[in-house]
């Protein structure tokens, strides 16, 4: 028996965690716990990407999805506070439908990739060229794919502007502070000193 390489053990550890927590995302009947399990899934898949020597993608996954997107998700889910009793055990109700989709996805992957990648021994290493991942990615993005990259950036900018203009109210619709006026204010504008003549006590 030849010893199992430790990198393989770590890969299956991360893969197992990812699959289990992904199932828990839909199986847990508390939405906050579901979001937290989704965070665990992201961290596990980031670990798998790290194993495949894609360190930039793996760290950006943690940074963007776990650090920013999921935080806001958690924020929203905490605020809405869904009634837990009303949505009990919908997991088993939707199970046949979900299983069908999973089957379809696995079939698609089998057709797209060669079945030889589905054995236990094959590891996803050696796909990427050696060297600093970030640098290579940057070189490709700013040379071969410069126009798609810029177009994607413009698209995101448009989305930001659209989102802000949807929720932003015009100044006359809402009360807001004028910071410059607040700073420039003087005592005479706020306080009026009234000189009241003292009254004589009547006896």
């Amino acid at each position: 028996m030849n010893p199992i390489p430790i990198s393989m053990l770590i890969f299956y550890l991360f893969a197992g965690i990812a699959v289990l927590s992904a199932i828990m995302v839909i199986a847990s009947n508390n939405p906050v716990r579901g979001v937290l399990f989704l965070v665990v899934t992201f961290i596990a898949s980031s670990g798998m990407w790290m194993m495949a020597q894609a360190e930039f993608l793996s760290l950006i996954l943690v940074l963007v999805y776990v650090g920013a997107v999921m935080t806001l998700f958690l924020f929203v889910v905490m605020m809405i506070n869904i009634e837990l009793t009303s949505q009990k055990r919908k997991f088993s109700y939707y199970l046949p439908f979900g299983a069908g989709i999973i089957l379809l996805l696995v079939l698609m992957m089998l057709i797209a990739l060669h079945p030889q990648y589905f054995s236990f021994g094959s590891m996803p290493s050696g796909v990427l060229p050696k060297g600093a991942n970030t640098e290579l990615l940057g070189k490709v993005l700013y040379t071969n794919y410069a126009y798609p990259f810029i177009v994607a950036g413009v698209l995101l900018l448009t989305a930001i502007i659209a989102a802000i203009s949807l929720v932003h109210r015009r100044p006359r619709d809402c009360k807001s502070q004028q910071v410059t006026e607040q700073i420039k204010t003087r005592r005479e504008l706020r306080v009026r000193i009234v000189n009241l003549p003292s009254e004589k006590k009547e006896d």
């Binding site: 430790i6 360190e55 940074l63 776990v66 650090g67 924020f75 905490m78 970030t134 910071v179």
Partner: protein
């Protein structure tokens, strides 16, 4: 299999060598905070336990460990217990990429800055989960404030890091420090002065310290997210707060003050005089300076109002970083001496 086990044991020994002194340092940062604020407010501070109160942090620790852990009713017990761990772990694993001297680093990875940033973005979960799992209104408010504040200041922090890695041309922390060698005028606090200030301010905001400690604002929400915690859980939250303070101070020294480099480098005469001081001593002195300023700021400034905090983050710090990144690009492109000359 055996040599892999050997590597594993070797790594665990290295981790112990980093974490144990760090925890002792954190204990004495709490002591220093009480002493310094004491003297600023014309008090003496703790002076009863041990010589000049030097054993006070350990007395506090023993007291907290032996206290009862109260789990509030209708709370979420698993998450309630996990939350302090979630806030402590990111503050500790970030030390994996911090170099203490030339070559003295646990893992010298090329994406060091990215790793630090990814890990520090995880620290908000401890606070959020604690606030939600406690089933308390005050804790919930603390958690919501913390989420909004951390997400806002992370952007400014990230942009100032972009400036650092533009100047150094690398995301490896050792190489960033090496790029600053050649004398005190080569350190990045000069060409990146606005980014240095932004990083400093948003570092204070990220660690939820005064004047940005609205998360635990005692006057309005009692103690924020850790209202319901007692005993070890409470101690872990404090440990996490001070460990991330030390981390931010070390990062400030590494990114902007030349890390382990001597400030007298390149000055004839004095350079030889101080050559015997090891690199990590300089790093320690610089870190201690930033920690002192942390405490000084806490003793001096009143707390921000929440809308002022958001305005500072979004309308002042982020535009400053954006402008300075553009300026920095021009400086680098023109090979502006003395920093970017080839």
């Amino acid at each position: 299999m055996f040599d892999q086990l050997q590597t594993l044991i070797w790594i665990i020994i290295k981790i112990t060598v980093i974490v144990l002194p760090l925890l002792i340092l954190v204990a004495y940062v709490t002591y220093a905070e009480r002493k310094v604020i004491g003297y600023i407010q014309v008090r003496v501070g703790p002076n009863r336990v041990g010589l000049k109160g030097l054993l006070q942090p350990f007395a506090d620790l023993i007291k907290l460990v032996f206290k009862e852990i109260v789990v509030p009713s209708r709370s979420n017990p698993y998450l309630f217990i996990i939350a302090p761990i979630l806030s402590l772990v990111p503050a500790l694993i970030a030390w994996a990429v911090v170099p203490f001297s030339d070559g003295l680093v646990l893992s010298n990875i090329n994406a060091g800055v990215l790793f630090l940033f990814a890990v520090s973005s995880l620290s908000v979960y401890g606070v959020l989960v604690a606030g939600w799992a406690s089933n308390s209104k005050y804790a919930m408010f603390g958690a919501l404030r913390s989420a909004a504040q951390t997400v806002s200041y992370e952007i400014a922090m990230g942009f100032s890091l972009v400036g650092v890695l533009m100047a150094a041309g690398s995301m490896n922390l050792s190489q960033i420090v090496a790029a600053q060698s050649g004398g005190i005028w080569q350190w990045y606090f000069l060409p990146l002065l606005p980014l240095f200030v932004v990083f400093w301010i948003s570092g204070i905001a990220e660690t939820n310290r005064a004047p940005f400690d609205l998360v635990e604002g005692e006057s309005e929400i009692v103690a924020g997210f850790h209202v319901e915690y007692s005993g070890v859980g409470f101690a872990l939250f404090f440990l996490a707060e001070y460990a991330s303070m030390v981390l931010i101070s070390v990062l400030l020294s590494l990114f902007f003050l030349g890390g382990w480099l001597s400030p007298f480098e390149g000055i004839p005469g004095i350079e030889k005089l101080f050559a015997w001081i090891p690199g990590f001593a300089w790093l320690f002195i610089k870190t201690a300076f930033f920690l002192f300023v942390y405490i000084w700021i806490r003793a001096t400034f009143p707390r921000y109002r929440y809308d002022q905090l958001m305005r500072l983050g979004w309308k002042v710090l982020i535009p400053v970083t954006l402008v300075w990144i553009a300026v920095l690009g021009i400086l680098i492109k023109c090979h502006c001496p003395p920093w970017f000359a080839i």
